[in-house]
Every structure is written in C-alpha cells, then in structure tokens.
Amino acid sequence: MTARPAGGRTVAVVSAGLGQPSSTRLLADRLAAAATAALRDLGADTEVVTVELRDHAHRMVDAALTGFAAGALRDAVETVTGADGLVAVTPVFNASYSGLFKMFFDLLERGSLEGMPVLIGATGGTARHSLVLEHAVRPMFAYLRAAVAPTAVYAASQDWGSGGSDGADGLTERVARAGRELASLVAARPPARDRRGAGDADPYEDPVPFERLLASGGQ
C-alpha cells in the first residue's frame, strides 16, 4: 500500500491488567511496539500513549455514578478518543473481558470510536480462553463501529516461555502480524488532528438551526 505523507501519529494503549507488573501490560507494550515499527516502515512517526486502567479505577466508578469523567480520567478518555489507533488489551475473567476494561469503554460518548483502528489483545492462564477475543471483545468494538484488525492476539501464560520465531504462529509472529495490520489501518486514514473539525461538526459550536429542527420534527 502507499504510505501517506509522514506525519505524527498517536497510538493509544489501554491496558486493563491488574498486577504490577502485569502480563496484560506486557502484551499491550509489545503490540504497540509492533504497530509503531510497522508505521515507521510506512513512513509515519508514532507516539504511544498508555492508559493503565488500574490508575483510574476509582474515578471510573465515580464517572459511572455521576455521568462525567473528572481529572486524569477525562484526559485518558480524550487521549483514547483523539488517537489515530488503539491497542486494547484485557485479562480474561469468567470467559469475558474484565469489568474494569468494559467500564472504561462504557464511559465513552456514543460515536467516539467510530472508524477507530483497533488492535485487540487478551491474556489468560491457558489458551483455552483465546476465543474470548472473538466472542466478547471483537463484538463490543463492532458495536462501537471501530475498525478492528483481523488478527487478535491472545497470550496464555505458556506463550511467554515458547520460542519466538521457531513456529509460524508463535506469539512473536502473531504480534508482528497484528502490528502490521493496525499500522495499515492507521496509515489509510488522515491523521486524527487533521480530521478534527472536518467531518464531525461540534453541536455546541455549530448547532442545527431552529427552523430545521422544527421542520424535521426535531430529528
């Protein structure tokens, strides 16, 4: 594919790992690094901004109850919705994403991830849970109308001890392939900072005139 003119891109990383250190964060970092490397090959410099959901846990509960995100959580939300691409990684709990992971995406304004290139990943104890990515995580992002990369990367505990490049489908290969897919989705769109204000009119700056509201029955 043709690379668009080089320009600064931002990839936001959302990690819902709870441990310190966390294997979820480890996978998230590797996915972000793979995407960054692939974007560099396409001629784009990329900045990675990581949101550790654990840091915002209390404020996410507050926001669920009050209806607004405050302080650092608001910044995190803006980082994610304003990025060029998103790496979203969750631990698998009870055959699904973790509550903390879901809670963050529940806080986003409707439409704010529309068209966003997303690379999804998950971690768990055994590979038996890997389809959680396809049955739970991917449908959530499909609902949010994000553009999810075809390859989703699951890392079981055992993957961290397997050889990197011996098998065709080792974790390293999966991460690299997923990174390339995210990079091509990101590179295919104009940079987020140029898109702002173009497609999505700000309803507080540029309201629908009243005569039109009245004529259309307010729709």
């Binding site: 509960v61 507050d62 669920a64 109850l65 009050t66 209806g67 607004f68 405050a70 302080g71 309803p203 507080y204 700056e205 309201p207 629908v208 005139p209 009243f210 509201l213 009245l214 029955g217 307010g218 729709q219």
Partner: protein
C-alpha cells in the same frame, strides 16, 4: 437578580436514622419550604415534576396553586415541566389558570425528563424526545398567543378552531425557561424564541455548561432578541451551610455519601471540587456563587437545591434561614454592583405587561 430554591420532591430516607417520610409528610414539607422561602425573602419556589416513586410532585399546578393562595410575593415555577409527555394543550390551560389565581406570579421551566419509562407510560417514545420538545412547545407558544388555533403535527391529535382557556392574564403568557443539562437543541430552541435558558449545572463540571450557555447566548443574539450578554440565564446551585465550615461538612457528609444521585461514588471533597456543590460557611457559599458570574456571565436567576438527600425538614428550614438572612442579601448587593446597566433582570409578569403596553403604544404612535 432573582434568588430562589428548587425541589426535586424526592422521598429519601434520612441516612442518619433510617427514617423515611411518608408521601403526605413530604408534600406538606414542600409546602412548608415554599412558605419559608417567601418568609426569608427569596423570590422563587420551583417544583419538579415526576411520575414515579420515590418522587411526590406529579401535579405541580395543584401544589403551586395551594402555595399561591398562602403567599404574597413568591414567584411559583417548575423545575421542570415535562414538555415531552404532557399534552401541550393541558399545559397551556393549567398554567394559564394558575397564572390567574396567582395574579401573575407564575413562570415555568420546560424540560424533557430523563426517566425512560415515563415516555411509554404516557404513550410516547423516548427516541422522539427532542422532536416532542420542539413540536409541543411550538404549539404551546401559539396556544398562549393566538385566540383561535388550527394546528397539525406529528405527535398529537390535530386541532381545528381551538381556543385554550382561560386566556393568559392581561394577554401576557407566563415566561418560559427551557431547562437542559446537555442538549444543544434546547439551547437553540430557547434562543430562537427569546425565552430563558436554565442550565442545571449542579451535577457536572462548569466547562460543559460554559459551552452550553455560550451557545444559547450567541444564538439569542443571532435571532435578534438582544446582545449575547442580555440573554436570560438561570443556574442551579447546591449548598449546605453552618457557621463553621467543619460543622457543615461533618453534618452533611452522611447525606452526601448516601445521596441517590451521587452517593457511594466520589468523595464529598472531590465532588465539591468538580461541581458547584458547596458545603461550608455562608461566606464560602457567597464566594462560590459569585464565581458563577465569572464563568457564565451576568445572569438572572439563581435557584438552590436545599431539600434533598433525606435532609429532615427542620434542617432544611434552618438552611433557608441562613440562605435568606446571611447569603442572599450579600449576593443581591454584589451582583447588582457588578451588573452593567444594559443587562436586564429576569422578566416578571409586571415587566412583560409593561413591555407589551409599550409595544402597543409604539404601534399606535406609528399609525
């Protein structure tokens, strides 16, 4: 500038003793609070409208009519009147009747309501919320201004040759505020008609309301009702006071921590930093309220939420004494000193009648 109180009318257990007032007690308490508002020199009492427990005020004009009979100066208003699920014809009739009984001491605040099941209970669809608010108010506006109305819309039975009675007192409809916490469409609607805009800012950060009020002001000017700083803005506020701020915090904390809206969420301290909630001394409330003017410009109506979160009636009445004696007199003086001469007061029945007469005289002179 007008100062007053607004009540949601919730029946909430007092978290300090577990006691829940009966509906009867709560309704009588709302009346006692309204009478106290007049006694301590406030200008406005506004009641919410709800159609589900644990809220009592389903019939605002009944309550306001009763309060009107027992007060002399207090303006009776709503917070809010559901323009979506009420029949606009019935709103026109009920509030015109109230306006006559109260000798003009009536205005109302329209809102959409955010309780999803209320829409189907009243035969409406919540997805039509904005559309209902736009169309129903357009009809209400005409019913109060045209003696005979022919009308057809999407949401209601058509009208042919309909006259809403009684006609508004002195031919002047009650002033209308449009209440919204997030919809730019409602700010646009208020601006189009030159009506008031009430931003209930008590649960969210100020940055959001600066944008919403800024939009209303710009569009008010756009539609030719005056300059942006002459638009008619109302704001909410939420306070709890004691002479010593530590006492206020200590007494209010259990009510905050268990409040239905934000309880078990942010800490009292976080919520005070993020929203207009002020728990402290009367001077702190004065300082905080004066800040609203800096954030939103000179405005016309300040309503405080005082009877919520299960606070007992006795405490609420004490709070109203403090508000009326120590806070509002200072705010009146300070706001008045800062207000430029071209910024109007909130319209009242008397000022609207005077304006209508002046306009009629002008038309007469031009002939």
């Amino acid at each position: 500038m007008q100062f007053g109180i607004f009540s949601v009318g919730d029946v909430t257990p007092d978290p300090t003793n577990g006691r829940t007032p009966t509906e009867h007690e709560r309704i009588k308490a709302m009346v006692a609070i309204a009478l106290k508002a007049e006694e301590v020199g406030l200008d406005v009492f506004a009641t919410g409208e709800h159609h589900n427990p644990p809220f009592v005020p389903s019939s605002p004009t009944t309550m306001l009519g009763y309060i009107a009979a027992r007060t002399e100066r207090l303006i009776l208003s709503t917070a809010t009147t559901l323009i979506t699920t009420n029949d606009p014809v019935k709103i026109a009739e009920d509030y015109a009747m109230l306006q006559h009984l109260a000798d003009g001491r009536v205005d109302l605040m329209l809102g959409r309501g955010n309780t999803a099941p209320v829409y189907p209970w009243f035969g409406k669809d919540i997805r039509d919320g904005i559309s209902l608010a736009i169309e129903n108010y357009h009809l209400l506006h005409r019913l109060w201004r045209e003696d005979v109305v022919d009308w057809e819309g999407r949401h209601r039975t058509p009208l042919q040759g309909f006259t809403s009675t009684p006609r508004p007192l002195d031919g002047v409809p009650p002033f209308v505020w449009h209440g919204s916490i997030r919809s730019p469409e409602i700010a646009e609607q208020a601006a189009y008609y030159g009506d008031g805009f009430f931003a209930n800012n008590i649960f969210w950060p100020k940055e959001h309301f600066q944008r919403l009020i800024g939009l209303y002001r710009r569009r008010y000017e756009h539609y030719g009702h005056g300059s942006a700083d002459q638009a008619i803005v109302g704001l909410g506020g939420q306070v709890f006071m004691r002479k010593n701020s530590q006492d206020a915090v200590r007494e209010f904390r259990p009510y905050f921590d268990n409040a239905p809206v934000y309880g078990h969420g942010p800490s009292l301290e976080d919520f005070m930093a993020q929203t207009p909630l002020t728990v402290g001394s009367p001077q702190q409330v004065i300082d905080r309220t004066m800040k609203f003017r800096e954030y939103f410009g000179d405005y016309q109506r300040q309503l405080f939420l005082m009877d919520h979160a299960g606070l007992p009636l006795k405490t609420v009445l004490e709070q109203l004494d403090i508000l009326g004696e120590e806070v509002v007199p200072v705010l009146r003086k300070e706001f008045a000193a800062l207000r430029p001469a071209h910024v109007p007061e909130a319209p009242t029945h008397a000022s609207l009648v005077a304006a209508a007469r002046a306009k009629a005289d002008e038309a007469e002179a031009a002939r």
